[in-house]
């Protein structure tokens, strides 16, 4: 049978009923004795030129026949469905699978660490149980000083305590690595604050530390302002205010424009238009000296912030206890998955 004869058969397809369609399919495309299959089988016997010509035309026709048969099959199926009232309702929900997700605090920590990674900071970690020396004294807390009051600690016996900040990792890092040092230090910290809406005896902190030749207060301001603009929004206003930490001098608190009221004043920012985001300062020379770093030559800056607090500010989460309760609805809501 010639190809053009076969092409004529195309016209029959749209009119065929289900049974006729099955016959046509076998007759034309059947793998054993279909007419088109027969033609394709003869191809190896032809000379190169003819083979190319016939082969191309035969394959094109094959595709056309297949498409026509497919379309007719679907039309017949639709007709059958309509007759029996069993149409597919495509608005019915799809088949779901369980989805998981990361804790919102983990996400915020990663996001913060990622921003600082772009600014050259790697991550460093240390133990959660620490010595008084690393947690306080090497950080220039004088013994028996009222500055210790803000750091009410859980003791484990002897001079072992649960770290009150991630700052002891500054000490561990400076004792083990020569400058330049650029690290961010995420981790859990502990203070003897009973649970309430904004306090938890356990909380997450991210500390940062940069020590090198020639680092100044200008670098501190620029680095932290850059962070704030990356994390919140490019036009976020920041301000720096004097503060006090034994391990930095000068010390500075950084505020960002309230993310909720854009500075107009609201309950979240106590009507000030600003939100306290982190504490910072130039590394105190005594800290460098305690770690065997030449404080005449090297300078540095450090800061600390609370990812839980930042998450609360950014997402409007009213109570820090929600982070620990592990209510599946809360975890799902903040898992980074689009909720239905």
């Amino acid at each position: 049978m010639r190809l053009d004869e076969l092409r004529e058969r195309l016209k029959e397809i749209p009119q065929a009923d289900a049974r006729r369609l099955q016959e046509l399919k076998t007759e034309l495309l059947g793998r054993r004795a279909g007419a088109l299959t027969e033609i394709l089988k003869t191809l190896p016997t032809l000379d190169a030129e003819t083979r190319k010509q016939v082969g191309g035309a035969a394959n094109a026709l094959k595709r056309e026949l297949e498409r026509a048969i497919d379309e007719r099959e679907q039309a017949l199926a639709r007709g059958k469905a309509a007759r029996t009232g069993q149409g597919i309702d495509l608005t019915m929900p799809g088949r779901p699978v369980w989805r998981g997700g990361l804790h919102i605090v983990t996400q915020v920590v990663s996001e913060i660490c990622d921003i600082f990674r772009e600014l050259g900071f790697t991550r460093a970690v240390g133990p959660e149980a620490e010595t008084e020396r690393n947690n306080f004294f090497a950080l220039n807390f004088p013994p028996d000083h009222p500055a210790l009051d803000a750091q009410d600690s859980f003791y484990l016996g002897g001079d072992a305590l649960l770290r009150t900040h991630t700052s002891p990792v500054q000490i561990r890092t400076l004792e083990h690595y020569p400058p330049p040092v650029r690290v961010v230090i995420p981790g859990a910290c502990y203070r003897r604050d009973p649970f309430d809406a904004s306090h938890s005896p356990v909380f997450e902190q991210i500390e940062g530390l940069a020590v090198d030749d020639g680092l100044t207060f200008v670098d501190l301001k620029a680095t932290l302002a850059t962070f704030a603009r990356r994390f919140f929004s490019p036009d976020t206003a920041v301000r720096f205010r004097p503060s006090y930490f034994p391990f930095t001098e000068p010390s500075a608190e950084m505020d960002v424009r309230c993310q909720l009221c854009a500075g107009a004043g609201c309950p979240a920012c106590k009507q000030t238009g600003w939100m306290e985001i982190l504490g910072s300062g130039m590394v105190h020379p005594a800290v460098l000296e305690n770690c065997g770093v030449d404080a005449e030559r090297y300078t540095g800056f450090a800061w600390g912030m609370g990812p839980q607090r930042i998450a609360m500010v950014r997402h409007g989460i009213p109570d820090i206890r929600l982070f620990f309760e592990s209510d599946m609805r809360f975890l799902e809501r903040f898992s980074g998955i689009d909720s239905r």
Binding site: T106, P146, A147, G158, P179, T216, V218, P242
Partner: protein
Amino acid sequence: MIVSRRWLEALLGRPLVAQEVADRLAAQCAPVDAVIPLHQDLGAVVVARVQDVKQHPNADRLTVCVVDAGGAAPLEVVCGAPNVQAGKAYPFAPVGATLPGGLKLERRKIRGVESNGMLCSAKELGLGADHAGILELDTDAAPGTPFLDAVPVRDDQIVLDVSANRPDLLSHKGVARELAAGLGGTVKLPTVGRPDGPTGAVPSAVRPSGHQAVVDGVAVRLEDPEGAPRYLIAVLRGVTVRPSPAWLAHRLSSLGQRSINNIVDATNYILFEINQPLHAFDLAKLRGPAVVVRRATASERIVTLDGVTRSLTPEMTAICDAERATIVAGVMGSADSEVSQSTTDIVLECAYFQPTRIRRTRRALGISSESSYRFERGIDMLAMPEALARAIELIRAVAGGEMREAPVDLWPEPQQPRSVFLREDRVAHLLGVAVPRPEIERLLSSVGFVAAPKGERLAVQVPGWRPDVTREVDLIEEVARLRGYDSFPVELRPYRLGTVPDAPAEQTLDRMRETLARAGLFEARTLPLGPADAPDAIAVVNPLSAEEAHLRSQLLPGLVRRVEHNWALGQRDVRLFEVGTVFRPSGRGADGPSSLPDEQLRLGVVLTGARHPSHWSAQSSKVPDMDIWDLKHHFELAVAAACPACDIRPAESGTGWVALESDGGEQRGWAGPLEADAPKWAGSLLGLEVRIAVGAPSLPRYEALPTQPPVLRDLSLVVPGGVTAAAVAVVLRRVGGTLLERLDVLDEYRGAGGGLPEGTRGVTWRCTFRDPDRTLTEREIDALLGRMLSALEEDLAVRRRQT
């Protein structure tokens, strides 16, 4: 620290706007927690003049007053005060006004006479304790003038969060000093008695002495100069203890301090004005009379002012008379020494107590006071004579009395002001901006430093009220904050990469979290503190509560509590994981000076509820619950991610599995069903916990993807009791060799029917054979299967099932 705007105005001699003060202080020295306007609730009160006073017709003690309150016509007001007089002005609350405390005035009849408002006492206005009569006003203001405009009581509290290094900001003078530096002006102490008036002369002669001296018949001995490096005593005779004058009571009440009597109020006034705590005690109660400053003895007891018996230790300094301790130095006095209504002669103590001594004492005794708070942070040791002189002046102004002899000043080792050197280039080195020397000098001198050039450097004399400034960097901070942090540019400068590699532990944890979240679990963060979860759980010495008294030694108990929390909320499907630290006693013994616990990173998982979400297309609306086989899958996932060098084995006891190190066999993980406080409708609870080995994952290598077709053969086997699937797989693999590419269990059959011998089960395995280089023949495979079956029969008595 609460400061009063009006008090600051008196010191600076200029009007101030509270919010501007707050902004300036926040930008320059200390955060401001709040600005609280005082007496806002008196807005409706006006000045009224009483025109006539008549006897109330039905009550002896009441009067009916005709009052001009600025309205169109005079009002009739019933009054119960004995001091009401025609022609005088009083505060008047009209009908509709709400007074402090919430009393809303209504027009009402009092013993048959209608009263149109109320003439008010000081107490009713929240201006003091005096309620014996109504408050007579010394004012020419027209009737109807708002009370707050006519009488200078309007004030603002500015609540400062003063850091531990700045004791100077714990007084109005110190705060005013900062404001003068920032806003201009100078600080002058007002003449006492008339607080808003000009400066008065200050008599300040003291008699310098060593360890002991006598003043006006009182022997003073300083036996503990370590605890009290400087100790001044004055004796005042013939004072009259009585209520404070209104101005003094107002000053204190503007800070929220209660007025007690003129002597105590005067000492408190000095404390809040210039940061010198003082203690006045009754000379008549002093045995000897003597004042002895010494370490307390081990068995010494004292009944402090709050009525509690306190045991002292030699770590504390006691103020004693000739016989006994009467005061815990710097912290609290006793009823046995305190000034009372009958006191006529007082001993006035002006001391410097060693800060750490005070801190330890007040912590040991669990009491603190405004005085101990200041001693602990360090007061100005150099300005004590001036402080004492001002206190004497104030006490004489409000309580009378005379001083027969100049105060004694016991100061065995006098100190000079400290000098700190500052290099100009070091300022730029740290701050990143060059600050010219004249500007440095100007900034430092604005808050009391005295700078003088000494060679290339500046020699800076530190005032006595700044104990925090001890080294060059402290002066650089002063320059930075006084210049203003805003004056330094935000300019990202080039930096060098650091030497610290990114923490492998963090990378490992990131991977764990990804793996579990992808498997459909949510990350939980539970509290590392809880009840003891093991016999050797590490206890916190000073826990907040018994429920949070131990560090966790495993993750699962905390996760189970979280599941129970979800159940309590009616949530049946809970799938949680946590990566976190657990704490174990270190092997090093607990006696060492720094025996820190061992910390391990763990991964914990809890699963309960439906295996997958329900879907309308399913045959049954009930989705099967997760069971131990779901758990085993998660365990395999967890072990592969957390400790790949481990094998999973059935647990020795109970239903469950363990992960054992391939070399050494140490257990690193466990999985199995968990006990919990479950509601009836809950599914079974399953959990696993794995210790995380920190390290990079092994990198996959490329292997050529197969091009030859596989050959699949299913083997239905009769497996006798006691033979495990793992044992069968070992034999199949051993014999199948490299041609056996995969081995999967297709089904398991147990039960009496189907012709299986008693005590056996049927297990069907699918074997996938492939040779990478050639097509396998049927004959080859049949031969191989034959050998595999023989080996099974021989080794395990496992036979092919006859169908």
